[in-house]
């Protein structure tokens, strides 16, 4: 790696953020409220249409798709971004990182710790960022090969199908709350009793909502609603998992060692975010449905910049990358996703270098 002027690199990236934040205002507030409205419309229309399956099964299918869309909007564009503090400047009682809770099994507070803090601070630092492989998959040669990696593609499929449970359990797995040897020296930020309580409380409410409450009030249509909700949750799981895997596990993303981030400057932090993330090209609707994680690079450089601005800053960021001859890792969905699959298969085998 040639000597790079990290300080200047940081200044240029900082300037993009400052210039953009100065423009943030009513347009962005209206945008997120509009997305919330459409999320509500889709969700409730979807739930109602699950009841029309008796009239024609196609209506039931539309209902499932609407409900899945609403869950994806809630988790990706609204939940993930609002919980990052992207819309805190609005001072809205409901749309802020302190109070927002999403429609998914994972407790929001736990997510904030593991995702916003661990993953975003230590992105792709092996041993620090547990999101790199989620402790289940071997996705780089930094990890020792184990026999279980031989069938890690199956593990990956299972993780995708159960994705919401994977991230709900993520922090508890890291903290060895239920299984495994407690790690020495790991300070318990949150008592295990609270982790357990919040996990079961959120999980049970989500299960009761989709598999007991709504099916029961549907009376004779109990099964239609139950199965509909199940499929909608599965679709959401598959979609979110797929998009998220495309953000950090594509073919060309870099990983970093713990030693390399000692005394890291802001410029070096930006550099790591830049090389550890990858974008997906697509249309406006696609970007919305990914919660703008299709701009993973921009999101990692500026985690609390409103998602409504990622499309606008992307060309500016790309220009800076070009100037510093950094790879701007982007591609079509197919390119990026096949990169993910390649990676999963490649590191299944021990001899991958």
């Amino acid at each position: 790696m040639t000597q790079m002027n990290y300080e200047q690199f940081a200044q240029e990236l900082d300037a993009i953020k400052q210039n953009t934040m100065a423009k943030v205002g009513k347009k962005d507030a209206d945008y997120i409220r509009r997305v919330i409205r459409w999320q509500r419309y889709c969700g409730w229309t979807g739930r109602l249409m699950l009841l029309t399956g008796l009239i024609h099964p196609a209506l039931w299918v539309v209902g499932i798709l609407l409900l899945a869309t609403s869950k994806i909007l809630d988790n990706m564009e609204i939940g993930h971004n609002v919980m990052h503090g992207q819309y805190d400047w609005m001072n809205d009682k409901h749309i802020n990182s302190q109070s927002y809770e999403w429609d998914i099994a994972c407790d929001g507070k736990s997510w904030n710790r593991v995702h916003n803090f661990e993953h975003h601070t230590y992105t792709n630092v092996i041993g620090k960022d547990r999101d790199f492989g989620y402790g289940l998959l071997r996705l780089s040669s930094d990890f020792k090969w184990r026999v279980k990696n031989l069938w890690q593609f199956i593990t990956y499929i299972n993780l995708s199908l159960l994705f919401q449970w994977g991230i709900a359990y993520h922090e508890l797995a890291a903290e060895r709350v239920f299984f495994g040897k407690k790690k020495d020296g790991r300070d318990q930020r949150v008592p295990h009793s609270e982790l357990k309580h919040r996990f079961f409380s959120k999980a049970s409410r989500q299960i009761i909502k989709d598999y007991v409450f709504f099916p029961l009030i549907a009376g004779p249509l109990f099964l239609w609603v139950l199965v509909g909700n199940l499929i909608a949750n599965l679709l959401r799981n598959l979609w979110t998992s797929t998009i998220i895997f495309c953000g950090h596990f594509t073919e060309h993303v870099h990983t970093f060692t713990e030693a390399s981030i000692e005394n890291e400057t802001r410029g070096q932090w930006y550099y790591r975010q830049a090389l550890g993330s990858s974008n997906i090209q697509g249309g406006k609707g696609f970007h919305l449905m990914t919660g703008h994680l299709s701009f993973q690079i921009e999101h990692h450089l500026y985690p609390d910049l409103p998602s409504s601005r990622y499309q606008e800053v992307a060309p500016q960021v790309q220009a800076v990358f070009k100037k510093y001859q950094l790879q701007y890792n982007t591609g079509s969905f197919l390119t990026q996703y096949s990169g993910v699959l390649k990676r999963i298969f490649k590191y299944s085998l021990p001899n991958a270098a």
């Binding site: 507030a29 509500r40 503090g85 001072n91 802020n96 302190q98 916003n116 601070t121």
Partner: protein
């Protein structure tokens, strides 16, 4: 009848409690109305859970950088008592900003034409008041809280020889104006108002003259600060003394009232905090966190300073990325160390690791 009524009320309460429980469990909002807020706002602009809506009927600029705003609250809003204040919430360029203002109009006016009037001194340096005159569009909607505060007129018969004295400094005239319009007609003893403001910045001069004409027992003086200082007030024992203005003025009048045995009533209002952004000059700052008091200075970020005093703060990335250390600032000014921006003085969420205090702060989790 009676039991039917209470059964009805009981059912209603049960229904709402159940709905809210369901909302907390399933929609993760304290009430479904909050969950649907952006949808409701399509029909009712600026509708917000837990607040009243009010429509802007009139905005006029007045001498001395004052703005007079006439609002028509939604009819569920309950009339204030003369002297009370409200929280006014306005969306300015997507940001909801909230400030406290005393209602200058009388409850009678609200009963008569369903309007209330706020008289606001604009502060050039502030984030809120300078924009009000330009950005509040006639017929647009804002939010107000219920009226609150106990700075109200004491409705007791007073002997003729113990006049009621009101001392107003600057925008401290607003509660006095409301009380005078409301209560002069029923007051049975002399009322004297001393209104201190810079030359040519007195508000309501015509209204005051009119009141004095209608009510022979009411007299008033418009004074500048130096006039007030050169003509000391004389108070009588057992007089009711009302004071609203800058802190120094209120201290003096309170001391004077104590000495003469008068009854002292005051309304405290805080001016926009002033700050010195020159970090070479160290400022000692008090940080109140959930009621506990900590000390700080403008030399370092809040996270380091609060951690060193074992305050219940959470450290995350420490570089402004992860929002683990965020707190709700209720009041006070902070400077964002990444952008150099100075915050608004009202309520907002701040990140401790990249915030340097510039004035006393009040915060909560």
């Amino acid at each position: 009848m009676r039991s039917n009524f209470s059964v009805q009320v009981y059912t209603q309460i049960m229904l709402f409690t159940t709905l809210n429980k369901l909302s907390i469990w399933f929609s993760h909002h304290s009430a479904f109305s909050g969950y649907f807020e952006p949808v409701i706002q399509r029909v009712k602009p600026a509708w917000r859970q837990g607040l009243y809506r009010a429509q802007v009927l009139n905005v006029t600029k007045a001498i001395g950088d004052f703005v007079h705003i006439t609002l028509q609250p939604q009819h569920q809003w309950k009339a204030h008592k003369a002297g009370q204040h409200i929280e006014l919430t306005v969306e300015l360029n997507g940001r909801l900003l909230t400030r406290i203002f005393t209602i200058a109009s009388s409850p009678q006016q609200y009963v008569k034409d369903k309007t209330i009037t706020l008289v606001i001194k604009t502060n050039e340096l502030g984030r809120f008041t300078p924009q009000l005159a330009d950005e509040l569009i006639i017929n647009s909607w804002v939010n107000i809280s219920a009226a609150q505060g106990d700075f109200v007129f004491q409705q007791v018969n007073k002997p003729l020889e113990t006049p009621t004295v009101m001392i107003a400094g600057g925008s401290g005239i607003t509660p006095m104006m409301s009380m005078l319009s409301e209560h002069l007609s029923t007051a049975n003893n002399p009322v004297y108002l001393r209104y201190i403001a810079p030359l040519n910045e007195h508000q309501f001069v015509e209204n005051l003259a009119l009141l004095a004409k209608e009510h022979p027992y009411f007299t008033f003086d418009l004074m500048t600060r130096s006039e007030h200082e050169s003509q000391p007030l004389t108070l009588l024992a057992k007089s009711d003394v009302y004071c609203c203005g800058p802190q120094g003025l209120m201290f003096d009048i309170e001391a004077l009232s104590k000495d003469t045995g008068a009854n002292f009533y005051q309304e405290y209002f805080s001016l926009a905090p002033t700050f010195n952004d020159d970090s070479a000059a160290k400022i000692d700052i008090t940080v109140t966190l959930n009621g506990k008091v900590f000390t700080a200075s403008n030399q370092q970020n809040l996270l380091i300073q609060l951690e060193s005093q074992n305050a219940p703060v959470i450290r995350g990335c420490g570089i402004g990325v992860c929002h683990q250390c965020h707190f709700t600032k209720k009041s006070g000014l902070v400077k964002n160390l990444l952008t150099g921006d100075v915050s608004d003085s009202g309520e907002q969420i701040i990140q401790l690791c990249i915030s340097k205090p510039l004035s006393d702060l009040e915060m909560s989790i």
